[in-house]
Structures are given as structure tokens and as C-alpha cells.
Symmetry: D2
Subunit: 321 residues, 4 copies
């Protein structure tokens, strides 16, 4: 199902080459001020245009169609639509029979029995993350003064991001990236033991973003190599502040009042112009495939603001009464 | 909330030093054969007794109290209880004012306003994972012939697990561990784009297990360093089998018919006998704390079967009609 | 929250005098054929225009904006929008301080702290039922050959519906109505004991329709006066067909293979042109209020197709795998 | 599924002739005082023993097994068990092939493919309502000072309840009943338009009680016969109090600050000792069936406290933050 959240619930829809994409946001407290201008900064951060991102250009104008009256949220579902304008579907036709390696072409075909809208990746397109970013803008307003901030630490294993991406573009290839996200001023006490642990809901939300292959909190995978005496964060005051933050701000599934800190791994964009061998599922023959269409060489460049958005969505769900 | 799942839903309850812990399992197809004997193997794998695990010994006898009739599941909720017998609560009294570093003592106190049952960690105890393993046993029967298998690859960063754990025990310390889980015979087509992606639900479930700090699918964090031409798994037949499995068996949030593969990082057990400095939240003074009670020096030794259980629970949710 | 359903989930949005209303429908099996033409008949049945219905005229053209490709549902969320064109908001201005008796003016103001879009009743308008009817059209296609059919038995307590409504219109008043709904070819075995009983979900869905004040299954309220020997429906064959249908096709919360039969009571439209005394909540003074705006004298005339829609939505939820 | 509620969630389990029945209650605010004594009054009201109720006698001792510590709820799930002791399963054997008219014997067999525990009606037994009443006791403590009170207005269409029931018992027959429920001190503003309207959730909850065949709010079915000028409740002050209460305290799905008022119809107990003709589904032959086992001649006598419980459960769900 394409909904997420209990108290702050988002419902996502649309396809890359259909008329629009959008999101319904339910659970917004009535009276929250909101305008189109609130969306500009985050939508721009997600946008293409920088080297290593797709040349597809969409204006990304959020059309607020319900739930807003006289500049304030009404308490009814907020509906935000983004029209699709700049698409060229013919680029994608070959992929229905010759699935791109690493892409959802094959799995979508199986799941939807061939009826999915395969143009531009359909619902699997990064295009839909525009709507997630929009939901994040609303969530960020709700969770203030909690502040969420993510950035790309490395691309292709290198901190020289620009250079690494340029080399990948030149080679007709793509690269992955490593993103760190930090939320500060998160109050202690959010989360639950077991199923609705903060890590559970946050990981659930973050793995909704296409291309994410890993998430780790605090010391994360390095924790597995540590001893307790190293890993334990000693408390230094009765507010629960700790000397170190190996836990990433969460103990027992519940925030501890220290910054929430996690990293996510973004895989390289699967569509590349370098030729790759793959099967034609109509003929069962192996064929060479060369990616067409417009794609990011490093989708990870655009992911930080999406990670922020999903983090804010989860925090809003916990913080709303 | 302490429930998880849509079609196969588990509800967890109980505290470490209360009379019992248990689980309600809803959504089991009527007619599924089940007996106490089915639980023995997995419950034994989770049990303490090996070096590095707590000396607390519980018989772990699953008491099936509802939902079973004449050896078959009825379709009504299955209730499995485990009585607690071997506990010594007095060991835990100091922790209500002096929270153990790295433990949920502090966060539980904040969240539950001091009313939580803090004896033995209350609901935050590893004891409750007994009930998760029991739910996993039922789920595994439902998803057959899909087979889920997890093992501990390393403890404390070393593949010499036994020796590493022994050294930690001797030092009064603890170590974390790295677990790999593989599910094979998973059919292609399970999952969804976005919110109910296979990675989303699986990560949600796995982060329900206490002490997990990271999860990665396929090449995981290494993907962030790779190029698309390396990471993409080339298809070799029309069933979608691939030459490599960097994706871990999932593309676009949907299984691709290859083995589902992921790793999780388990942090070191926070309670150690080495002295640690921490704050007394009643007096605001720093004090030296030395762990008492009975604890695992390497909880990760017991986690593989719990990871298997949560994986099976998620797959059952997808596979049930 | 403005979503309903597990396997077949609808999310409703929009306000009476905003730019549009609509619905997201999730869970549609990929491959279901669908076109704008499929909606005509049911949307026409809901439409105004007959005597006793509002003179507001909307074209009710369903704009399918996502989830449909080459005439078939894709399996992604289906989005149907209806633009609002013919509205005159100034008619509603007085009601923000002087709540109409029997209307949601007062309760909406309390719940939404005055931020709700009060124009035309905002989200509380019957206008939104257009989207429910659209969802019902899709649901009906899914549940075929199950057939759902509802009709108005009485208006204002009289079977001479047309005449009764005409008299109410002439008097500047309104009347309620009694609707019967029958679903046949419903297979036995749908439903659950207790919380997700068929009556529970159906009543949940039907009470979503504005103005419904009662629902009864089979003999309903008359059952309370009957003896078991009269009320029990004797089975006549091993398919469970019964000689009578006092149960309305449901026993123990589960369909029994006989026609599903229930009745709902629709209250009279609260907005009337006859003067009514009510309080001005700004001044605390009593005032005479005379309804303006355009309203149905007998909203019940338009409700049968909405009841069918909600019934089909519930049955789709049970029937989808 | 056997769970109900979002913020206050109950999960029901057990069978009539299994070892126990019970309920898990999640979402209780930590610190709520609770003791076995709190349950006595409501459990006694539900109990058998009065003329017209089953001679089966259960002590109904609530065993609180988790979620309570030092007399206060901990915030973890509360588990309440009731052991079954006084049952005689052999009475029910004939019904697996010869379904009782009006009972769930047939529908349970279809739904659960014959694997349901049919002894004593299994999960379909009124016995499980003991656990609902227990959940109601907890909910009532949460919603105080809101007060919920239900009573039996009529049995078999007569206000001379005792006499009517006695005549039915003498005749080997059973009778239904009409119950009215009133909740006062309900604050205005609870509920939603459409899917989670107060009537929707309340009807969902109330139809979970076995044997309910109708529910109506305020003037209910009589509303269908009224004119707007009669039905509209005129406001008399700015708190929204009204001169009449035809709406039953709800407008637009949201409470209006007046008493919440509704009635429910309970059908006559299906099991009667009078002979009834029904089919043997093994042989397809018609047979005469005479009810055995121990049953209420008027189950409606015991239903008021169950209706109160489900009402309190719904109100707790709305009132909890």
C-alpha cells in the first residue's frame, strides 16, 4: 500500500510520465501556516541540473489543491500535485522486454503482471520523490524546533564528490553515495520497544526511498566490532546527555535526548550508457543493452533532502498528539 | 504499539520479571499443523547456556493456550505463553536512579514517566525475543518452501568468535557481532515501491530486535562506493536469475527471484561488569556503576534465530493471500 | 484519518468550494479495465437535478490522473479528481458564527479550531460523496459477479416519495428517507467474529456517508422483538441457503451465502429555508436563521448509489486476495 | 483480524472451551491505577445467573499477567486472562454436521474450512465478551469523567422484561432485546467527517458484539420519517448545547457536546430447546434439531455492560493523545 504513518499519514501517487504525481497528507494540525514559497528551498535541493543529475527538467511547482484555506492548513487532508511536463516516453520502450540490470523493470513486470506503466519507470521513478520532499516540508514545520539535516559525505567511496561524479559521467557510468543525517533538539522519549522502535519506523521510511541499500544508527556496523566498554555512551547529566553518541541518539528503540544520527548507503543509478549484457525475456537470448533516457549518474546527490523529508515525516508521526 | 503485520500479525507482551511473556499470532491459515515439538529447535538456538550468554536459565516451554485444536491451527488467534521462573529482581534495583550507559534504563523512565516495570529491563529485556522466535516458528511453516537461515559471521570484528567472546567475558566486558541472513526460494514479485518495500518492512521488523544498529541489503554500504557497471546484477534468464547478487535479491522494493540477502550489526551488550562512570539522576552526581544481574557478554550469539524469525514474519505477511 | 480499507483502500480529499475533490484508490488488481464511461451511470444517479435535489450543477467528469495505462489499471494507486466549478461561496458566510441547527458548522469549528474551510460545508459537504461513488464504481468491477443494489423505500415516512418531497420543498422544509440495500451472489465465508465482522466493517463504511443515523441488518430492530423460533433462519441445503433471511445474510459476523440485506436511515437535510432559532456563538444571542445556499430538500434521494458504493468498497476489501 | 483501535488497541483471543480467553490492551497511559477489584462490578453485570441466562458458571477472575507493576499500569501492553473451567464440550458435538439455525456453526465451518474449534461455539461464544468487558473497565478509567451507561429497554418487544423472558424460557424459546446507551460529559470535537466518524467507529465496535443486528443514533430510524424543521436540534448556547437531541450528540461525524445517545437491537439467542428443522450438511437431509448445551434465553440481558465497554473503548481511542 502507498500510505505511511499513523498520526501524520502520507499517501503517494502518480507515475513518471503520467499527467501528474502527488501526495495526500493527513493529520496536519489545523492552523499551520503554509504557502507555495515554503517548498522552494527543499524542492530546489532535490532538483536536477547540477552535473551528475538528469537533464530532465521539471518546474516542480507544488499545486496545493485541498486542505489549505486563507494560508493556513484546515485540518482536512492537504493535497499537493506536481504536473509532469518534460518527458520523452519513447526512450523507455526497449526496457519492457529487456530489463535493465539493477533496475525495477523486471520485478515490476512480475508484480504487476505486465500492466504497470513502464514509461520512465512509472511509479518506480525518482520523480515521485518530489512529492516526498513536499511532505517533508510540511513535516518539518510541524516538528520545529527539531531540525533535520542530511548531506552527502562521499560518492563512489571518495570525498571528492564533484570529481568522482564527473569521472563517472565521462565513463558513461554511475556512482553510489553515502549520506549522513542528523536531527537535533529531538526530545527524549520518542519511540517504543520492539515493533514501533524509532529505528524501525525510521528505517521503514528511509528504505521507501528508491536506491537505498543500507542504514546504520550511531556507530552502526562498527558497533559489531566494538566492546561494550567502548560503545556505551556514559550519561553526564540528568537530562540524559552523553559524552559520546555511539548509539545515534536511540536506546531501546526510544530517543535519549541526544542528536539522532544515522547514515544511509545509496547504490549507483542502475541506468548507465555503458553497454551491459542482459537477457531479453521475450526471446530468452542474451543481448547488449545501452541505457537511453535521461538519468542521474549519481542519484545520491539528490537524496539528502529526501532522507530529511522521510525523517521529518517519522518524527511528525511521533510528535503529533 | 506492540503489534506488527497486516495479514500475519503478531502482538507481543510481557515483562522480564513478570509472571509470563507471550505473543498473539493472528492470520494463520486454518489447518496448519502445529505442536510444541515444532518450537524446540529454534527456541534452543536462542537459549542461553553457551559461553558468553547469560546464566539465567528458563525452560522456554511454549504454552499454546488458544487457536489450536486437535493439532491444527484453527484460524482464530494463536496464543503462546512462556512462564518466567528463574529471575532475581533485586539485582536490578540500582538502575532506576543510575541508568546503565547504553541501556534503555533512562529512555524507558522518560517515556513511561517512571511507571515502567524496571525489573530485569521489563519489556526491554531480551527475554521477550523468546516470543518472537515462537512467532517465527509459525511463520516459517507458512512460508515453506522458502527457507530462512542466519548465522553469526563475526563477533567483536573477529571471525574467531569463541575466542573473542571468551576474552570479553574474562575482561568483564562484552562484544557486538555481525549477522548474515539468507532466504532462498523466495518468489519474485513480493514487495512494493516506496512505503511497503521489502526492505522497508524487513528493516522495520529487524530493528524491532533489541540491540540492532544497522542493516544492509546485498552489497549494502559497499554499494555506496561502487559504480553502476560493477553493482548492476546482469540477468541471465527469463526467470530473472542474475550472475551476481549485489542487490540482495530486491529491486525497486520487490523481490527478484534471487536469494534475499542482508546483514545486521548487533551492538555489544550494554551491561558489563567493568566499572563505568554515569550519572545518578536523583542526585545529579557522577557515580561508578558496575553491572550486576545476569547478562550475555555477546547477545549477538543468540540473535541469528531471532533475525530468521522476524524475516519469516515479514515474508509470511507478503505470502499469505 | 481520511482513509478506509486494508486490501482495497480509499483516501478521500477535497472541499466543496476548493478547486477539486477526489480519491486515491489503492489495491486495485493490475489489469482491471477501466474508462471514464464506466462512471457515467452511477455518477448520474448521485447527481442533482431531480426535484428535491440541489440546483448546484456540477459536470462530475472523473479525471483519472494516475494508475491507469492503456485502458487498464496498473496496480499503482488510481487517482480520480473532480473539479469544482459551480459554487457560490458567499451564501455560506453567515454560518461561521451562526451554526445551522443539525449541521456540522458547530462541530467542525470546535474540532478544527476555526481553521476549517467553511465554504459550502468544506469537507462536510455532500459534494465529496461524488468521489465515494467513483470508488464504488471501481469496487463494483472488482467484486463482480456480486451485485449490489440500493433504493429509497420511503421519504418522510411515506412511500409516495415524489409527492412527499414536493410538499417539503413547497414548505421550505426537508425530509429524511429509508434506504434498503441488497447484495446478491455474495459467497459464504466473508467476515470475522468480533472486530472485523461483516456488519462492523459495513456499518463503519456506511456511517461514513453524511446524514446516516441508523443501520440494521436483516430483521434488524424488529429482531429485538422476536423469539428465536421466529428469527432463526432454517437451512435448506448444504450450501447454507435458508428459508427466511432474518439474519440479513450474516451469522457470527460472516456471510452465509444468502443475500446480504440491510437498511439505513437518512436524516432530513439540515439546511432549510424555514426560519429556525439558533445561537450566534460570537454574541451568545439567539437569532433567527434562514438557510441560504443551494441544498437538497431530500438528500436521501441521492444516497442509494452512495450506499452501494460503500458496500462494494467493503466487499472488495474482503474479496481481494 | 482480532484487534481494534489505533491509540487504545485491544486484541482478543481464546475459545469457549479452550484453557482460557483474554485480551491484550495496548496504549494505556503509564501510571493508571488498576486492581482486580476494579473489574468486579462490570464483570458481575455481564455474568450469568439471573433467570434467562445460561447456567454455565465461570468465576470470571481477571488474571492480570503483564503491564501492571505496583498497582499501576506500566505503559506496556496489559494482559488480562480468564481461565475457562466450567464447560462441557460434548453438548456441542452434533452441531459440526447439523448447523444450528441462526448460529455461526455454518459460517465458521466455511470460513475456517472445518478447522475451527467448534466446542461451545469456539471463538464465536459469548464467553469472549468477558474480555471485552474487562477492556471496557480499563477504558472507562481512561475516559473519566465521561460516563457511559447502557440498559435494556425491552425484551421481546415488551418492557415487562422479567415476565417476557420467563415465558420464553418456559416455552424452550429465546427473545431479543433493545438496549439504549448514553454517554455524558463527552466533550465536543471528537470524531471526523467520513471514514472515522464517531458513528463509524462506534458502530464498528458495537457490531463486534455477537448478536447485534442494528444501531441507531439519536432519533435513528425515526429520523427517516421526520422533516428537517422537526429533526434539527437548535443550539441554545455557545457551548453547543441544544434544546433537543435528535442527532444523538453527533453532527458531521463529530460530537457536539450533548449526550451521546444510541440504541442497539439484540437478536434472540439462536440456540433454543424447541425443535427446529435444519439440514445435515454431511448427508444433505433435513433433520429436526433440538438445542443442547447451556445458553441464555435472552442474551440481551447481559449485553448492556458489553455495549458500555465497546463505547468506552472507542471514546478512549479518541480521547487519548
Amino acid at each position: 500500500m502507498n500510505s505511511f504513518g499513523y498520526r501524520f499519514r502520507i499517501t503517494l501517487f502518480g507515475e513518471s510520465h503520467g499527467p501528474l504525481i502527488g501526495v495526500v497528507i493527513d493529520g496536519i494540525p489545523p492552523g499551520l501556516p503554509l504557502s507555495q514559497g515554503d517548498f522552494v528551498q527543499d524542492l530546489n535541493r532535490r532538483k536536477s541540473g547540477q552535473p551528475g543529475t538528469t537533464p530532465r527538467y521539471e518546474e516542480d511547482l507544488p499545486l496545493i489543491k485541498a486542505g489549505l484555506y486563507r494560508g493556513k492548513c484546515t485540518g482536512a487532508p492537504l493535497v499537493i500535485l506536481f504536473e509532469n511536463r518534460d518527458f520523452s516516453s519513447k526512450d523507455y520502450e526497449p526496457f519492457t522486454d529487456i530489463p535493465r540490470p539493477g533496475h525495477a523493470d523486471f520485478t515490476a513486470k512480475v508484480k504487476y503482471k505486465g500492466y504497470n506503466d513502464s514509461r520512465g519507470g512509472g511509479m518506480f521513478s525518482g520523480r515521485l520523490t518530489t512529492a516526498l520532499v513536499a511532505a517533508g516540508v510540511v513535516a518539518k514545520k510541524i516538528i520545529a524546533p527539531v531540525n533535520v539535516s542530511a548531506s552527502l559525505l562521499e560518492a563512489g567511496g571518495s570525498e571528492k564528490i564533484e570529481e568522482t561524479v564527473r569521472q563517472a559521467v565521462e565513463a558513461g557510468d554511475s556512482v553510489g553515495g553515502l549520506i549522513e543525517c542528523l536531527a537535533d533538539q529531538v526530545p527524549a522519549g520518542l519511540g517504543n520497544p520492539f515493533f514501533d522502535s524509532l529505528e524501525s519506523l525510521l528505517a521503514h521510511a528511509v528504505f521507501s526511498i528508491p536506491g537505498i541499500k543500507g542504514i546504520e544508527f550511531g556507530s552502526g556496523f562498527h558497533s559489531a566490532e566494538m566492546r561494550g566498554s567502548e560503545h556505551n555512551d556514559c550519561l553526564k547529566d540528568k537530562e540524559g546527555h552523553t559524552l559520546t553518541n555511539h548509539s545515534g541518539g536511540v536506546n531501546g528503540g526510544i530517543t535519549n535526548g541526544n542528536p539522532l544520527l544515522f547514515r544511509v548507503a545509496v547504490k549507483p543509478t542502475p541506468t548507465i550508457t555503458l553497454p551491459q549484457e542482459t537477457v531479453n525475456i521475450a526471446t530468452s537470448r542474451m543481448e547488449m543493452l545501452r541505457g537511453t533516457g535521461r538519468h542521474d549518474a549519481c542519484f545520491a546527490l539528490r537524496v539528502p533532502v529526501i532522507v530529511e523529508a522521510m525523517t521529518a515525516v517519522v518524527l511528525a508521526d511521533y510528535l503529533l498528539p
